[in-house]
Amino acid sequence: MLAARTSATRGAARLARSFATVVDSAGVKVAAVDYGQPTSAVTVLVKAGSRYQTKPGVAHALKNFAFTSTSKRSALGTIRETELYGGVLSSSLSREYLALTAEFLRGDEEYFVDLLSSFVTSAKLTRHELVEIVHPVTEAEATVAQEDSATRALEIAHTLAFRAGLGNSLFAPPHSHVTTEDIKAFASSVFSKDGVAVLGTGIDQSSLSHLVEKHFGASQLSGSGLKTSASSYYGGENRVEHGSGLQTVFIGYGTTSPSAELAALSAHISAQPSIKWSQSTSPTSAGLTTGTTVQSVYLPYSDAALFGILVQGPTSEAVTQASQTAVKVLKEATGSSGLKSDDLKKAVAKAKFQAASVADSRDGLFSVLGSKVLAGSEASVNSLVSALDKVDSAAFSKATSALVKAKPTYVAVGNVDTLPYADELGL
């Protein structure tokens, strides 16, 4: 009983600290947090997102190459051995990072760290695997993304907002001509000492750094890393015909300085109800017809952020009406009078909860704190939440009015004959 209580307190202390310690092990940044979960997960985070890609679709192809044959084991061997251990392997790609994750039972970390390291240090990236395994998956994922109007709107919005770099699509173009030489060149430069971090949950910091030291020999990560120029925001308007699915409108603004105030603004705009089957009290949800949704999107990156409102609905009329309301609310919130203090408090509380609750899931933890680990700065959920504590009405109105001064990014996906134009919404 006593032992149980001690471990519970220790767990709580660690939870508060989550990822605060970043250690260099064999030149690679390692961070781990252990709440006493029954399973462990190790993620290798690589600065190999689509913004770094040298040719369209290279990053997407490298993501799908994950866990194929290496000099240590073949693709089949990787799968079968992982099945015997009962682990789950996954890879995911964001605009900035490629994450290779292995989830497994406690005690199997030796094998899984070795597996992850062997892909990073000695992937074969063969031509027949590109044709037989990678291409079909890449094409299927690209097609699915193309069919989903919300994903499509966000992809176009990024391109309009940031053009090159962050504007690169996450997905390979429909007829991509990526060769193994392109992928090998990309992989050899992104797997560099500065560009790789190892994050663990449910695993002891010291044992993880020991394993990383053993498997990621410093000499094996010889890449020089890829540099991109700093992002700048452009904005613009685009309309795309889309046959199936919901009518979609994206109204967004970009900035090159992500801040907590924008997270609060996003929480204020969002019409997602906090209770199931109900309507939100957010002003944007006034007059929403059934099936129409207004979501706020706030995507912070290392040197830029895209804030926006994604309106989706079954008919163009409903979407137009909802967009008009949303723009009105956005203008009121970012105007000279700013938000009422109660509204601001509510928005900050909502944003704080969202920021804190990402730590509940592994994916969220890795995606939010991973970038901080790579940058070598303090990585804890507390720092994210405490930034929101400092939001006051003066700072809020300053940050948000600067945001909406820029040229808006406007994307309409669906029936372009009836969906509104940016100026019709008063942008």
């Binding site: 089949l76 061997g77 079968r80 044709v131």
Partner: protein, 126 residues
């Protein structure tokens, strides 16, 4: 040993320098006598392709290799219809008679063997 590539003593012959010196001229003579070079073919074109391993290996040829193979077959079948080999200056020189398909077949055989091992694996918990 009796895989799609057939039985071969070549590695053991190559290991012994004396044996290699004696057997090599004989092998060259035999390869010329076999007559496939007169038809513009390479040795790997004669490899029996009616088995899954070679079929898989054929899909892994580079586009250039696959095109050249198809072209050689077309030339050879035309010559066969005409009952007339190529003029002597167009015979395939020994230097071009490379084993272009062999590495792919070996790779596929290795994969099949690995799959068999994994499929029949007996797991012992330590």
């Amino acid at each position: 040993m009796f895989g799609p590539l057939g039985f071969t003593l070549a590695p053991s012959v190559r290991r012994s320098r004396t044996l290699y010196k004696w057997v090599k001229p004989l092998a060259d003579w035999y390869a010329n006598l076999a007559g496939y070079r007169k038809m513009g073919l390479k040795y790997d074109d004669l490899l029996v392709e009616e088995n899954p391993e070679v079929q898989k290996a054929l899909t892994r040829l580079t586009p250039r290799e696959a095109y050249d193979r198809a072209y050689r077959f077309k030339v050879a079948s035309l010559l066969s219809v005409n009952h007339k080999p190529l003029p002597k200056d167009q015979w395939l020189p020994a230097s071009e008679d490379s084993r272009y398909l062999k590495p792919y077949v070996e790779e596929v055989v290795k994969e099949t063997e690995e799959r068999r091992v994994w499929d029949t694996l007996e797991v012992r918990r330590k």
